[in-house]
């Protein structure tokens, strides 16, 4: 294994019965990278090739300087010798072992000198302390998935692969696990590849994004940029949204409100649990943004920013996605084609964005 540049560089070609995978990608060796695409686009196959669970006929993979596969040089490190963690769509716990022994399974196979994540830390991060003696069959779906994530973390992987870990869960269970995943992101310095087809998960968790379609990479880059690129599918449809970073400047507990500032102006948040000075990431959905030519007075909408139109693109029939610049930050607005025509919107138009809803991502 010879050292080479940081980051994860992968190229795989493999023909599967129903489609062919032909990808080449390079992503940062730190933070969360989401692999996003419709079902059948090859996300899981790509992840399985990276893990070595599937062997691409011709492929090359290096992870932060270590070569795990290079068919030109005859290198293929078997799965159990790769320092990775894998979280499957279904928890895949060992049914014959209780939670404690499931967690211990991988841990005790890792030499003490390579352990960087303590079992205690994994148990604490995922809130498993009360479950240690339970058998997998007695756990809820969300609990099982948390155990599976902790089990992978406990091996101190140098790359964590997660294959839609929330896909088999209902909305309540998803909401239960997402905060744990965000804590992972904040507290562990471990590169994560996260497969998903849910735009809201991507917006919440990913720093970097790889878009996959038909077994090919269609785009790769920082999440905020790709989510708002009008030529890409993420910036379309009901779930289209922009994410911005802001700093809390004031809290009004009596109104359950907080106020934060970003480069394009001030936003009010219906969230009293913030402190002044705290950095927050907020998501603004395109369908919650409307546009006016003049600043409205006497409206219930509190978040109004002056913006510049930087692009327009047809969305679903009768609707137009408008890309906006708010003091250097990108926003999306989805309005009807008729309105866009009435306002004579075009690139360069100076308008006001009225934002009806802002979600704090944590």
């Amino acid at each position: 294994m010879k050292p080479e540049g940081d980051g994860i560089a992968a190229s795989f070609r493999r023909v599967f019965p129903s489609f062919s995978l032909d990808v080449s990608l390079a992503v940062p060796g730190r933070g969360v990278t989401a692999v996003f695409g419709p079902s059948g686009s090859g996300k899981t196959s790509l992840l399985r090739c990276i893990a070595g669970l599937e062997r691409a006929g011709s492929g090359r993979l290096s992870v932060n300087g270590e070569v795990w596969q290079d068919d030109a040089a005859g290198i293929f490190v078997p799965v159990h010798k790769r320092p990775l963690g894998y979280v499957f769509q279904e928890a895949s716990l060992f049914a014959h072992l209780d939670v404690a022994h499931n967690l211990d399974f991988g841990l005790r196979r890792v030499p003490a000198s390579q352990r960087r994540v303590s079992l205690e830390k994994a148990i604490g991060l995922l809130g498993l302390r009360a479950l240690m003696q339970r058998m997998p069959g007695t756990l809820s779906g969300g609990e099982r998935q948390r155990v599976a994530i902790a089990r992978a973390l406990a091996t101190s992987p140098r790359l964590l692969l997660m294959d839609e870990p929330l896909a088999s869960l209902d909305i309540a269970r998803k909401a239960e696990i997402l905060p744990y995943l965000e804590r992972l992101h904040d507290e562990l310095d471990m590169p994560v590849l996260y497969v998903s087809h849910a735009p809201d998960e991507v917006a919440r968790l990913a720093d970097h994004l790889v878009l996959l379609d038909g077994g090919r990479v269609t785009a790769s880059g920082p999440t905020r940029e790709l989510m708002t690129r009008l030529d890409l599918p993420l910036a379309h449809g009901d779930a289209a949204a922009a994410v911005l970073e802001a700093v809390v400047i004031a809290v009004e507990p009596d109104w359950h409100m907080s106020h934060a500032e970003f480069s394009g102006g001030r936003i009010s948040l219906l969230n009293p649990a913030l402190r002044a000075g705290q950095r927050v990431r907020v998501r603004i959905q395109a369908r919650d943004v409307s546009l006016t030519l003049a600043r409205q007075e006497g409206t219930s909408v509190q978040n109004i920013f002056p913006v510049t139109v930087t692009g327009l693109c047809a969305d679903s029939p009768g609707q137009v996605m408008v890309k906006l610049d708010a003091g250097g930050c990108i926003l999306l607005a989805r309005i009807t084609g008729k309105s866009a025509d009435a306002l004579q919107l075009q690139a360069g138009s100076q308008v006001y964005a009225q934002v009806k809803g802002v979600a704090v991502l944590g």
Binding site: H80, E90, A91, L93, H96, P136, A152
Partner: protein, 227 residues
């Protein structure tokens, strides 16, 4: 009452069944694993061969084994060239016959268990640093434990009740190849019905208890998602 010959027959039967079961568990495991995992065209033919004793009269199996392993048969020639002599009319010969005869009762439950657990536990173990051999002992065996119990019980019980093969290739040598079923046959031939009853009744009760245990104590209530 049970006579000396009867006790001898029981001891021999138990020894034969225990040896056969042990050989089958050891040899049946890789065979069942292969049958559960292979995509080769050989899976069908091999599976059919393993299942053959389910439908074939044991006498037919015994007859061909006798021919094959006899002094002029290919297997017989081979064992003679190794200096082992010929296998018919020996305990080893009985073990070989019993292994073939009871094979489906051991291989099929194991194969079903291996197929039912799927690839996922193996893949999960591999991503947790377990080598394939490690995975077999720490994941596959524990998950297949109920199947191993069923396979051992069925293989043992089925061997205890064997008659046709023993008669064809074991002969009727006291203490060497005369097992319970043959002993019963001898008693009946000699009109010694009360001795026959002891052994036959014993076998009946034994078989019933074995099946009762297997059907009532179901380890099928598997804990966990098993995915």
């Amino acid at each position: 009452m049970m006579d000396q010959a009867g006790l001898q027959a029981i001891a021999l039967t138990l020894r034969l069944a225990a040896t056969t079961t042990l050989v089958l568990l050891l040899a049946g495991t890789p065979l069942a694993w292969w049958l559960a995992r292979t995509r080769s065209w050989l899976k069908g033919p091999v599976g059919a061969l393993v299942a053959l004793p389910l439908v074939l009269p044991p006498v037919v199996l015994g007859f061909y084994l006798l021919v094959l392993m006899g002094p002029n048969g290919p297997v017989g020639q081979f064992t003679q060239s190794l200096g082992w002599g010929v296998l018919p009319f020996t305990f080893t010969g009985l073990v070989v016959g019993s292994v073939l005869y009871s094979m489906p009762f051991v291989v099929q439950p194991l194969q079903n268990a291996f197929e039912a657990m799927g690839e996922r536990p193996l893949e999960a173990a591999a991503t947790l640093r377990a080598s394939p051999l490690d995975t077999f002992f720490s994941v596959v065996l524990p998950l297949a434990k109920p199947a191993y119990l069923a396979a051992a019980v069925m293989g043992f019980a089925h061997t205890v009740g064997e008659f046709g093969i023993v008669l064809m290739m074991g002969g009727n040598i006291p203490g060497k190849t005369r097992v319970m079923s043959v002993q019963i046959y001898d008693h009946v031939e000699a009109l010694e019905y009360s001795q026959a009853h002891w052994l036959a009744g014993g076998l009946l009760v034994f078989s019933f208890l074995v099946l009762l245990a297997l059907y009532t104590w179901r380890p099928g209530s598997r804990k966990g998602d098993g995915t």
